[in-house]
Amino acid sequence: MWWDAFDILLQANFWAATIRIATPLIFGVLGALICERAGVLNLGIEGIFVAGAMAGWLAVYLGLSLWGGVVVAALVGAAFGLIHGTLTVPLGLSQHVTGIGVTLLATSAAYFGYRVAFPNVATPPRIEPFPTLDVPLLRDLPFIGPIAGQQTAFTVLAFLCVAVVAFVLARTPLGLSLRAVGDNPEAVEAQGLSVVGLRIGAVMAGSALMALGGAFLTLSAFNAFYFGMINGRGWVCIALTVFASWRPGKALLGALLFGALDAYQLRIQTIAGGMVPSQIFLMLPYLFSIAALVLVARRADYPRALMKPYFKGQR
């Protein structure tokens, strides 16, 4: 029994599942951290995940290519980001309540749209999802080969996004202004840059990434759209963002850690099956997120202007 619990860690399947579970979270945490680095909390994330999952999948179902679906999802995400950004940045409305509103709106729009497109279906219609990668040299490596062989191009895109976001935030003038607008908007204004423009842009870009997280689920992990398939993944990303202290590298780490925990939980369930109710294991990822948040909260270095609306010429 104890050996079985340890043996899980040696299985390629477990590590492949870890990466698969982590991928949507990587997109989500990156998206949330871009928004928050610019000073805007985006609680629309949960709904944007749903809308991205639904829109990307529907686009492919209606005949677009898989990458076309990815683009559609990103655009839908950016559109909801524009709503959230417009209401919270120039109008300065409560970021909490607006975010919940965007989540409700995006979720109900996705569900309503699905019901309009498919009024009476018993089994959800399917698409042909992203195929697994087959890289000539990589597949022959021991242990790594089988893990990489179960991933799709969409996962590679997630890892690329980590690198791009990390580079842009740390090394480019755009990244510098973006960080500044979340820490000290007055300084950005003094430079002659538009605080409103930068923040809305950041929220749109972040929301587009969040939507990709949803689209991964319907275009790569599964091949259909289900009601309730997001099931709190978006909220988990908000917790992981604090855990990652708003850094892309740590975001990747946090998402992988969470993925490993979730994958482990699923496997240990079958070993311990019957002895412990399955719900106990299903609670673990949520409890882990809460614990991580509570543990790092004291030292968390929040962007200083997070949730503080900025009005030109007003202190």
Binding site: L93, V97, G101, F112, W235, A239, Q279, M283, I290
Partner: protein, 355 residues
């Protein structure tokens, strides 16, 4: 250049006009997806209105649906006033429902005038305890209560499922995961013969009035408002900020717990894991529509309930998905938020040269 100048006082007619205007704007916005879906827009709205308030029966259904929404709306209103972002009313509702079943399903034998209050107090205590934990995390560790309360919703729902499949499962329910029914002495009486409307509504209305009096007429109510307006100033003035937060948490969680008890003891009679179709989240919408005023929560809850009940009946009649209700409600939330700018600020156009 446009500036927002804070208003010292908002005239009542303006708040009313903005609420009605926002409601109309939400209905207008809903026409877009409705038209895109190819449904007959105006007859859909007419059917919704008829389904929500077209008959005594429809009205009773709307009020039945509004009952839990008044509780969760009050829970959100009192918390948001103190800037305690309790998004966990859904979980607190289930905790209350679980406590109601634990007390009322035969564990204690007592006459109704003892058992009903016991069920309600137990449910309120369970909801309150569930929110005090995130409040503690917030005041002690600085952990953001939004995420903690959100994630706890999922934990509580899993816990309820676990209890319903395990220790609290009704063996007579033919394998269906539901709790044993409440004993007759623990149930809230119905208000009218043949209707589902129950005395939970009276309790909800009493809570709204009580909360209004508490917030506007008592010292603790004043403290809560002061902490919400400016926590640093309140601390500087020597107000017990931590204690006020805990009190707000207990009230807010307790009200959400009562929502669960009222649904179980007044309507369903037993607990299932699908007791609430998102009443906790809808409470946030209700509180926002009511501009966080306890008395305003009552009409706001009736409006939201009417939208849901009306959409259900419209959906049965012409087959348009009842997710339309969620669309109307989320549009209403966003419209009221924007409308709130007009009530809180005077919007002044300043010429650039003058500024």
């Amino acid at each position: 250049m446009i500036r927002f100048v804070p208003r010292e006082r908002t005239p009542v007619w303006l708040s009313l006009a903005v609420s009605i205007g926002a409601g109309c704007a939400a209905l207008l916005l809903t026409m877009i997806p409705l038209a895109l879906s190819g449904a007959p827009v105006f007859s859909a709205f007419a059917l919704m209105a008829e389904g929500a308030a077209g008959s005594g029966f429809a009205l009773a259904e709307t009020l039945t649906r509004a009952t839990p929404l008044i509780f969760t709306g009050l829970a959100a209103a009192v918390a948001f006033r103190a800037k305690l972002w309790n998004i966990g009313a859904e979980g607190q509702l289930y905790a209350g429902a679980l406590a109601a079943v634990a007390i009322g399903a035969g564990a204690i034998t007592a006459p109704p005038y003892l058992l009903v209050p016991l069920v309600l107090i137990g449910a309120a205590a369970a909801g309150a305890m569930l929110l005090l934990l995130p409040v503690l995390f917030k005041t002690r560790f600085g952990a953001d209560e939004v995420v903690v309360t959100l994630l706890m919703n999922f934990v509580v729902l899993l816990f309820v499922q676990m209890m319903l499949e395990g220790p609290m499962k009704d063996e007579m329910a033919l394998g269906w995961p539901q709790s044993a029914p409440l004993v007759d002495e623990a149930t809230l009486p119905k208000l009218f013969e043949g209707l589902r409307l129950h005395s939970g509504l009276i309790l909800a209305l009493a809570c709204a009035v009580g909360l209004h009096v508490f917030i506007t007429r008592t010292v603790w109510g004043f403290r809560i408002r002061a902490v919400g307006e400016n926590a640093r100033a309140a601390r500087y003035a020597g107000l017990p900020v931590g204690l006020s937060m805990a009190l707000v948490g207990a009230i807010s969680g307790g009200l959400a717990g009562l929502a669960g008890a009222s649904e179980v003891a007044g309507l369903k009679g037993y607990l299932t894991a699908d007791l609430s179709p998102g009443f906790g989240y809808a409470g946030i919408v209700v509180a926002t529509l009511a501009n966080l005023s306890p008395l305003g929560v009552v009409p706001a809850a009736i409006f939201v309930a009417g939208v849901f009940v009306g959409a259900d009946s419209m959906s049965r009649a012409i087959g348009v998905s009842n997710y339309l209700a969620d669309l109307v409600v989320s549009f209403a939330l966003l419209c009221v938020l924007v409308g709130g700018l007009v009530t809180r600020f005077r919007i002044v156009y300043v010429r650039r040269s003058a500024a």
